[in-house]
């Protein structure tokens, strides 16, 4: 269950080493156990330098892939998880949990409490999920509210102390490092008994509960025979409960309007104390029918101090909010494009912003453009080979807008224009970016009156909603486009 060592490595392409170890921590008592448990298959934890090199090579971050290297490129070296074997000093260090996020590599080596040869299946190693959770916790801590490098450096400098709290001997006590930070701050408060370990102190002040529902809608539209368009809503309900008492109880109910789309695939925060079986079983895996559970979705919980994600859900709304088609044709030296977008009438026509990004990959800079649009403005980023159609806050009354034109490109500069393996030839997409406040596509809302709080004082309850686009693609219908298995289900 324990970790033998933890690293944070910043990925720095272009520098001689391609990375720097920003933080590392070893756990010698765990290492001692590893030596006993792993017996002949024991491989010691390397020093930072060799580890960095081996990890960057394994993650293909050394950007020297001009030649075929068997130990990296062989067809039989297949990695299907973020858990690697690193070649260090002729021996293979395994399992190394590692992932790259925001140019930072998070890595740890969990203890395996048995011999490593034959390799036990990963599912049997309890330290693997513990390691992941620790790394996610560090990642959350580093990037929550962090805006610049200075703040990142400050947080990195706090890590040794925080891990001394959260993981003193290699066994993770709390993956939420913010709690450890608060713990130090709350240290002077004498904690009463039965204080949850995930709640380092108690709140003192005006009671208030804030609930915000953010829905992201993603879509793949092809406008093609035999390929179905797909779209999906992913919701996140975030809460911040400022309530007095050690363990105040709160129940939040999410409701749908009569024609709302049922919530599915609901995952809840561990502080939720019980779940209706209908919530547990409602899943997008099943074919939809009218009998689907449509709420209200009740979540009784004891809130932690900080803001947290009460639950995630997905939903299958009947139509995508914006339906579009995109046609692109290569005509001798130029591309002819035609775009049509239609906002569904049921969707709130009041955007914070709405834009269509039309990128042209594997081509040179835009040298010439002629276009005609029924609505909005077009911005041209010549060097980036990108057009941005700014639609603005509202669709016109007709709810339908169009853009057509021709684009000409200069010679391609391989340095400046990164290679895109998907958008080759006429395969192309446009991507919609929009945001609508005080609105959810499913209709899901948290009724302020249905929020039950069992704590002293009547809290102020506030609720927010918004809809954001995410991965909203409309593919050129005149060329092949990558499809998912789901698109073939007609």
């Amino acid at each position: 269950m324990a970790q033998r060592a933890v690293w944070l490595i910043s990925h720095e392409p272009g520098t001689p080493l391609r990375g720097t170890v920003r933080f590392s921590r070893r756990y010698p008592t765990v290492e001692k156990r590893a030596r006993v448990f792993n017996r002949a298959s024991y491989v010691p934890i390397p020093e930072d330098g060799p580890f960095l090199k081996a990890l960057l090579f394994e993650l293909r971050l050394l950007d020297d892939d001009k030649d075929f290297v068997e130990s990296r490129d062989s067809c039989s070296r297949i990695n299907k998880t973020s858990i690697y074997g690193l070649l260090v000093g002729g021996e293979e260090l395994w399992p190394v949990v590692a992932f790259l996020k925001n140019d930072m590599i998070y890595a740890c080596v969990p203890l395996v409490e048995q011999t490593l040869s034959p390799r036990p299946p990963l599912i049997s190693v309890s330290g693997v999920s513990q390691g992941f959770e620790l790394l996610y916790g560090i990642q959350d801590f580093l990037y929550s509210g962090q805006k610049n490098d200075n703040e990142l450096n400050t947080k990195l400098s706090q890590l040794p102390d925080l891990l001394l709290q959260a993981c003193p001997f290699g066994t993770v006590l709390d993956a939420n490092l913010q709690n450890s930070l608060d713990n130090t701050n709350f240290a002077s408060v004498t904690q009463p008994q039965k204080q949850p370990a995930w709640k380092p102190g108690t709140y003192k002040g005006k009671p208030q509960v804030s609930i915000s529902i953010t829905e992201k809608v993603k879509s793949m539209q092809y406008d093609k025979q035999g390929v179905a368009d797909t779209w999906q809503v992913v919701g996140t309900v975030t809460c911040k409960c400022d309530l007095e008492g050690i363990m105040p109880n709160v129940t939040i109910s999410l409701s749908l309007p009569t024609n709302g789309s049922p919530l599915q695939d609901i995952l809840v925060h561990p502080c939720v104390t019980s779940l209706d079986s209908a919530i547990l079983t409602s899943s997008s895996i099943d074919a939809m029918d009218d009998s689907a559970f449509s709420g209200p979705y009740k979540f009784p919980f004891t809130p932690p101090l900080e803001s947290f994600n009460l639950c995630y859900y997905t939903s299958q709304v009947p139509v995508p909010p914006i339906l579009g088609f995109y046609q692109m044709k290569e005509e001798e030296v130029q591309l002819r494009i035609t775009i049509n977008l239609k906002l569904h009438e049921s969707v709130k026509n009041n955007f914070e912003f709405c834009e269509a990004h039309i990128p042209f990959f594997n081509r040179g800079p835009i040298t010439h453009l002629e276009y005609k649009t029924s609505f909005g403005q077009l911005e041209v980023f010549r060097e980036k080979s990108l057009l941005i159609w700014i639609i603005g806050q509202k669709f016109p009354k007709s709810m339908e807008i169009s853009l057509s034109g021709t684009v000409t490109f200069g010679a391609k500069n391989h340095e400046k224009q990164p290679f895109d393996p998907i958008c080759v030839g006429e395969t192309a997409y446009l991507k919609l970016h929009f945001r609508i406040l005080d609105y959810t596509l499913t209709g899901c809302y948290a009724d302020q009156h249905s929020v039950q709080v069992f704590a002293s004082g009547k809290p102020k309850i506030s609720a927010y909603r918004k809809l954001i686009s995410s991965d909203y693609y409309i593919w050129n219908s005149k060329a092949p486009a990558p499809v998912t298995y789901g698109s073939l289900l007609l």
Partner: protein, 879 residues
Amino acid sequence: MGPLSRDVWAQRLGAFRASPSAFMAGPEAEDLGRDLLGDLRSEKLSEQTKVSLLALSLEYPAQLWPDASAAEVAATSLLDTLVLLPPRPSALRRPLLLAATTALAVGGALGPTSGASCRLLPLLLGLAAGSDLGRGFVPASEQRPLQATACECLRELESCKPGLLGGSLGLLRGLLGQEGPVQPLSLLLSLALRNTLVLQSRAGAGLGALLTARVSPTGGGPWDWTLVEEGDGRLQPQAPSWPVAEEGEGERSLTAREHSPEEARELRAAVAQLLDTSYLLTPVAQAQLLWLLGWALRGLQGQPPALFKPQLVRLLGTAQLTLLHAVLALKAAFGEALFTAQDETLLLRRLTLAAQHPALPLSTHLFYLHCLLSFPENCPLGPEGEEAAPLLLGPQLCRGLLPSLLHEPMALLARLHLLCLLCAEDEEEEEKGQLPSPGHYLEELLAGLWQRAALEGGPRALATLCFQGSYLVAHCLAGQPTVLTPLIHGLAQLYRARPMLAPHFVDLLDHVDPELREPLKVVLRQEVVSRPGRDEALCWHLQMLARVADGDAQSATLNFLRAAAAHCTSWDLQQGLLQVCRALLRAGVGGGLVDLLQVLARQLEDPDGRDHARLYYILLAHLAGPKLGVALGPSLAAPALASSLVAENQGFVAALMVQEAPALIRLSVGSHEVKGPLPVLQLLPEALEPIYSLELRFRVEGQLYAPLGAVRVPYLCPGRPARPLLLPLQPRRPAPTRLDVHALYTTSTGLTCHVHLPPLFVNFADLFLPFPQPPEGAGLGFFEELWDSCLPEGAESRVWCPLGPQGLEGLVSRHLEPFVVVAQPPTSYYVAIHLPPDSKLLLRLEAALADGVPVALRTDDWAVLPLVGDYLRGLAAAV
């Protein structure tokens, strides 16, 4: 030396952390541990600096205090520092406790005889129990955090010495029930409980008493060195880390000890107590608790796992990786006893949706996907240990988990694997429904992968991904022609589009099963040889052909090579060309290749290329098939990363050059036989392995003998006695000598080996030859004539020859029989010996006494006198 300043320490710690091994090899290494302990008490250093010193000791105790005694001293010093802290809040108490614990545990000093252990353990237990340790030892504000830290330290010690806290179970339970901090006590108790249950099943101590007693029933303190001893004081994997419900009897016996109803009730109560408050623990700690209790209760009779049931619904709803993983561990541990078929379905569905939930990160998805394919089913069908789709996971459930070209490489491969597993099932069941066929989807996906890999200018990662995908498909669906045929076709097209991927193709051919390899080789060869031989990608074609060329389609291959030869102007192209020739040589292609090699040996511009071509030509002309195969075969001696040229070179060295090898033969000298005009050494060879074409070469030290000819044996087999080999000697002087022996032979693998054997000794007596036998009755006259002829040039002497129990008669018959000219047994013998090249030695052995015989001797070569003396004196001892 006074305390170091903050800056000096910062610099020193920085240097250490940059490379501990380099630092420890340097001059400052020795003092580091001592300075650190000393400066912790310095009043000049800030607490923050001291914390950083302690942090170092937490990470590198083995470097600072490398042995048990140093660790003991360090722990004592750390404890002293702790006690000496002034009674006000300090940031040092926590890290000091952690550091003392680490030093003892890592240094191997923890034990009943260690003074530091005997101080630390009561201190930790006192802190954990929240007892008043007096004299303001713990300021009120630090009480709570130190209580938790003490629990953590105890847990770490229990982890390193399982059973240590076996006597404290009751105490810990009591604390958990009262005022203690829930998480540290819960984790400590569950670990101690788990370890006790495992050890106690061996030791037989009463569990009930342990669980209820407030002080140790074994006496001598609440820590239990006896249990530690019974655990051999060593860490044992106490259970397979993956608790499997169905297991062998041997494993089960570990925990199969039956408990009395009372004990069982106490145990159930303790577990229920832990589980009831588990929601107060952080998610990671909850998961640890579940793993530990799952381990503890697995296989225990009278402990229904239903205790866990109330927790499951809550756990199944969360998105936490650790919690779902712990549920899977419970599933594996208890199987049907905890999860009904419906529960199993629900768990599988939650896992399936978690493996694709858009709110979770990619690495979580991938781990869940792995869990799905290793899912601990109630009724598993497939072979254990191999990834497989669970029975309940049909295409309907999986449809969101199938790959698409938009996925990241790892996700694509993981999902592709699942798709392959579905295709394998699909083939068996042929049950379609409304879903599109997975096989068809697989084909489209592969086509997309090949298309992307074929893109001009695409990164190598795309090609690698494409070949990994192809390999995965070939590996999972090897037996399905409906998959393999399009696979071969697609790969051939890919090669046509982008020959520079040749190294990937070669790698793929090296890894796939023959079902794919053989047909793919044929297709790829056709791809190459159907080209004009004049191509920008010629180097790739040659690399490809070197892998796929064999005895088939010889003429097309040779035509291609002939055409290509004209364009092989650079060194690397010529080497590529020769590599193909080499492959053809190995495949046993003769005829046309001879012509080609001759042409190449003349035409190639590069002298190295010409030499190689000539060498191949000579090999082809002179070596028989099997030897040629060995000569050109891959060398085992070549390191894996060496270039093909180096490998080839080593191959030659191995096969054509003579190898220095350990001796596979032994050689001894047989009995002396007197025949013919020259002394002959009889050699007895003995082989340890079958060897062929053995040639023994001899060299005489000095110039005493004429050079010796080699002896040849065609075949030697171990266990089968060989005929003795006769080595005629041509002495130039009648003197003993030493022969230096070298052996050359061929092993059954075709390697020619050379070995220097131990030297052989030619003794003085080995040179003895008889004179021609005189006619009957003329012996005495003949002897006297020889006797007289020795003087005056020669020498005369008398030597005492000791006699053994055999007496004179025995001695003569054993050693001198062939040379006796006149015999009057048992008292008198006249012996005449011819010593090649042309000396004589005459002996008169007469008037023997009980213990010896005086020997009168004459020789015409006075130089042999000392040899004769030694010989005669040694005869009695010689057997």
